[in-house]
Symmetry: C2
Subunit: 662 residues, 2 copies
């Protein structure tokens, strides 16, 4: 049951016409911008105070704690992103800043290993008294992730040693033994982080501690209720019900018994990531089975077409099967980042291309849609339909923003996107059973061990614009091994040119991969051309919110209508059922990213409707219009305006003249 | 400018195959049931404590105040309903109970005239310190309405004198003069009540006080902010923002300058009712103009097809023009009752049948839909689409109930429906300019002055089931006058049989009435047969929530699909565009109320969709099914289940076989 461990994820250089610019943005704009933000030097953004909290806790400055109870985690996530950047390219200026931050952070660590500026500065003595709400283990997890990443990138042990000391301390506080706390964090994160620490240090204590936290979750009597009684029934977030709503924190059942995606979406996917890690490390079949069930629930019943999750603002949560309102969606950026974490783990546990399909869907739509094209502004919430004129008037839309924001008082998303993009190389390939699986067709170079020798692999990609990919294989000598190429769910044909011959493949293996097993020679190339039609997507017949509507998708991109191109009242636009689509490009968008133009109709607000809200025996006056659609990720980069992914289809409109449709 | 005053509303006996049963329910079930509820004797309902509050305040019992700050108003509304019942039929048992209540209520009145058990028992000394939130004048208004109604019904002055004393006291506290309070109530109600008191007593002081409250509203500096500062910034409802959200209470602008329906829906229509009253009494042209604008905004842009208003739960409020989500609607029963109040006033100010059309729409759909067919259970919120399986899971639906409740902790709606139905006679006719206008075709008898003599008029109605009405006119002698018959908006033809001749009329006068002016003889009859087709209703093209959907209406009834007849997943049902409709009846429903049966389709959840949420190049498997629709008002009387007013239309389905629609 133990899954293969080797992964070629730590030695990858991305060189891609679409993604290189994103990596550059992370390096040149996002990480520096976020550094300024963490230091309260961004003018139009709410002050973070995160670095100051550490300086104060380290005795370097005077002052008080400010920010959310989990403010520390922003610093950790920034450090982790910086580490990934350093791993792909050393940068002494960035490393110097990071080393400086690490000095401050470690300076704020207590003698016994404890590290958390909120409790150190604001509630000393109350450590571990409110796991349900106060995110101590969550913050610890992020520092552990940062510590392992920074060690791998630079070989420097200072932060790794500090977080190991912290983990040792946590291990002394939590556990099954009498006298120890039997609890677990309200917000899952430390579980997956401890697996990373185990993999980095080889110390099984950390793996066992991770499993302990997973095993404890959802057991009775309920820990959050017990600690609440013990601390005198105080709550940190009185407007929420983190203590008593056990679904919210996925503590309503032991994790192995959970079948449905419930509660806070980010917490669930972080938990699932750790569950998959534990299944991989320990061969825990029940854990794997729960992972599969939760995966099916999330992606088969509760995921938006843009790869986002969380149908409602209340609790930033899942709601019910097939309940996917596009205009009210929460669809947090972080949740799609976490869904990618989970998907990547599942790839190795259960070979099926659908994990990579979802990873791609989340990445190309919601994750990069969460940031502006210039890398300075961010969405937390990613609705599929926005009417700015109604926001502020209908308070159900109070969580929806029509433009990206500079920084958030709860700033989880921007650094999460940064660390995801900075580590994007980890998502491209999987090395398993002497085969190199290509999961995402992102241009990159790597060196892996295949067929008993080292092989250099280059992936040249024109995937985003044309669906074309070229792989160059350079084994040290001729040798047999397998390249396994994912057949993306959005295509029905790929032309494969290899060894001078072209073959059209319309059906991949049962697991969704096309396997090329042969004796490879140095310099062998494989060229793939994926058929990339514009697809009219429908939702499952149990999704009541998208009936009579279609969404367009081409390649990995889901498209949307935006006011900038189509004017106001997007709900009045109709697609022709048999419309032709012309590809175009938009100056403001990344090169190669295609827009779509097609003929459609606009329902007019004119006609016999003056002062009448409801009428019979009449229809709508329609007129032909040209429609332009853009990839969803690129919306809200050209001013505030309406946006809609799902578009009404209506074939009862006569294109030749203005008509009253009955 | 002064509108006609005479109204034949106080001498009407309803005798109608549909409505008589409702009046009977009010008399035999609702008013007695509500009496039990007010006395905390209903087992499955939250205790009201309303009568006990008065007993305690009157010194008859010991105890403390319990309930909402406006709990008193439930007693007042019950008394008002009882008065209307007594007006149409004396009933010594009911009158004895009412006299007893009046004794208790008057016993709770202070020496100076003040009457409010909340402040008397719970916050003595803080009277008038929080008009924004504490509903003192609102409760006063309801007692004034009860006092005038009870005097009219019984000739007994005790309550009328008490509320007059209270109004005199209020007049001594509020006014423009220095030393008086310049405020007005957060919840409009006293304004319309004072006009009733003026009309009952002839004392202009009350009319002027009503106008003063209207004139003060929305002036600057803002009274609610000032009193909030003065009382030390305390608030009664911390989770709401009644003090600072001036739109909520329609105090964001002087009332004559308001153009859009904003804020709490009930407050707006109560305010508009008083504005129309003041316009009628004083000829205030600006006031009338504001009434027309607000009417157009409410009914032309912000009203559901069921005659309900208030698109969102937050603030029980209007949201934006054409923003009418059926599943999230607030659509409070009280707001439709208030809309009828407003409509009735407008009928006399601006002769147009659309006011009666809206009155009818509200009455036949939301108002009676607010109660169960047995008169014991009530909806507060009246959504147009309900999926019980999602309630509780998607918290946006937390305000939606799938079944009517016994009584409410905030019990405004049930007694409001009771007093409306008990006074339904007031809505049938308008007497104006020597013409008798028939506004609602409800079977009734009345005696009015027309053409200089008294005329008995009988209206025999088979309106609900067949669209048939017969009027019998009995002047004391032959004489000329006018019968003006409303042409309902839902018909395109009426056959009129009068004087032995039948005439088909397809177009009424510009104001929507068909005028029969002639010399009438004793016993003359007019028979009307309204064409009553099943109409496929569409919404205005700016309503984005109902695109691709139709609602069915026949006569005054809007129809809906219900799970009891059509199974689960109503969103999968489709109407045929050219479907025939068969009328039926349902045993549980009132006699004469028609159900509709028609051929349609059901989209299947089967097909190639297993575990796939989104697909292209495929459609839905459909199969022909019989659909049954029932009048909206009758839903939720046969168990908990789904309900939907708006139904997808889809003509691309082939009825002859199961197909995959593309």
């Amino acid at each position: 049951m133990k899954a293969a461990q080797t992964s070629p994820t730590h030695n990858i250089q991305i060189e891609d016409p679409f993604w290189s610019d994103y990596i550059r943005l992370v390096r040149e704009v996002m990480v520096p911008y976020q550094w300024e933000a963490l230091n309260d030097r961004v003018q139009d953004a709410e002050p973070s105070h995160a670095i100051r909290n550490f300086k104060i806790a380290a005795g370097l400055e005077a002052g008080e704690f400010h920010g959310m109870v989990f403010q520390d985690s922003d610093v950790a996530k920034w450090l982790e992103a910086a580490a990934y950047l350093l791993e792909t390219r050393r940068d002494s200026a960035l490393e110097e800043i990071a080393d400086g931050v690490i000095d401050i952070v470690v300076g704020a660590q207590r003698e016994d290993g404890y590290l958390n500026t909120y409790f150190t500065l604001k509630e000393p003595g109350k450590e571990w008294s409110n796991l349900a709400e106060c995110h101590e283990l969550y913050c610890a997890g992020h520092f552990i992730e940062a510590g392992t990443a920074y060690f791998r990138a630079t070989g420097k042990r200072k932060l790794l040693d500090a977080v190991s000391r912290f983990a040792d301390y946590i291990d002394s506080v939590f556990g099954r033994e009498p006298g120890k706390l039997h609890g677990y964090d309200g917000h899952q994160e430390i579980e997956l982080a401890l697996v990373k620490l185990y993999r980095t240090t080889g110390n099984e204590k950390y793996l066992n501690l991770s499993r302990f936290f997973l095993d404890q979750r959802g057991t009775m009597p309920h820990y959050f209720e017990e600690e609440w009684e013990k601390r005198g029934r105080t709550v940190h977030f009185p407007q929420l019900s983190m203590v008593h709503d056990h679904s919210y924190s996925q503590s309503y059942l032991p994790v192995r018994e959970q079948m449905d995606a419930e509660g806070h979406a980010v917490r669930l996917v972080y938990m699932c990531t750790a569950m998959a890690d534990i299944a991989a490390e320990t061969g825990d079949a029940q854990m794997l089975s729960a992972c599969k069930k939760l995966w099916d629930s999330i992606t088969g019943k509760r995921m938006y077409i843009t790869g986002s999750i969380g149908s409602m603002e209340q609790g930033e949560s899942f709601s019910a099967d097939y309940d996917l309102p596009g205009d009210l969606a929460y669809a947090e950026t972080c949740a799609s980042v976490g869904l990618m974490f989970f998907a990547r783990r599942m790839l190795k546990l259960h070979r099926s291309s659908r994990y990579a399909d979802v990873m791609e869907r989340a990445l190309y739509n919601t994750v990069i849609g969460g940031m502006s094209l210039d890398g300075t502004r961010f969405f937390y919430v990613n609705p599929l339909e926005v009417y700015p004129d109604v926001i502020g008037k209908n308070k159900n839309y109070d969580h929806i923003k029509a433009e990206r924001q500079g920084w958030f008082s709860c700033a989880c998303c921007p650094p999460n996107v940064a660390r995801l993009l900075a580590s994007l190389g980890e998502y491209i390939f999987t090395l398993q059973d002497d085969a190199l699986y290509v999961e995402l067709y992102i241009g990159a170079r790597t060196r892996v061990e295949l067929g008993g020798q080292m092989v250099d692999v280059e992936l040249h990609s024109d995937y985003v614009s044309e669906g074309k990919v070229r792989l160059v294989v350079n084994p040290e000598r001729n040798g047999e091994f397998t390249l396994a190429l994912r057949m993306p769910e959005w295509t029905d044909r790929v032309d494969i040119l290899a060894g001078g011959e072209t073959e059209s493949v319309t059906c991949a293996g049962e697991d969704g991969y096309i396997r090329l097993t042969r004796k490879w020679h140095p310099g062998d190339t494989v060229e793939l051309t994926f058929s990339m039609p514009v697809r009219r997507m429908k939702s499952h017949p149990l999704v009541r919110q998208t009936y009579s509507k279609v969404a367009l998708q081409r390649g990995p991109f889901v498209y949307c209508l935006e006011e900038a191109d189509n004017g106001k009242r997007l709900y009045q636009l109709r697609l022709k059922e048999d419309g032709e689509y012309t590809l175009g490009e938009e100056e403001e968008f990344p090169k190669g990213v295609k827009t779509l133009q097609t003929a459609g109709y606009r329902v007019s607000s004119e006609g016999k409707w003056t002062n009448r809200l409801y009428q019979s025996d009449t229809g709508y006056v329609c007129e032909p219009v040209d429609l332009k659609l853009i990839p969803y990720f690129a919306w809200a980069n050209r001013g505030i305006g309406e946006m809609s992914v799902w578009i009404f289809e209506d074939t009862r409109l006569d294109p030749t003249e203005k008509i009253l449709s009955p």
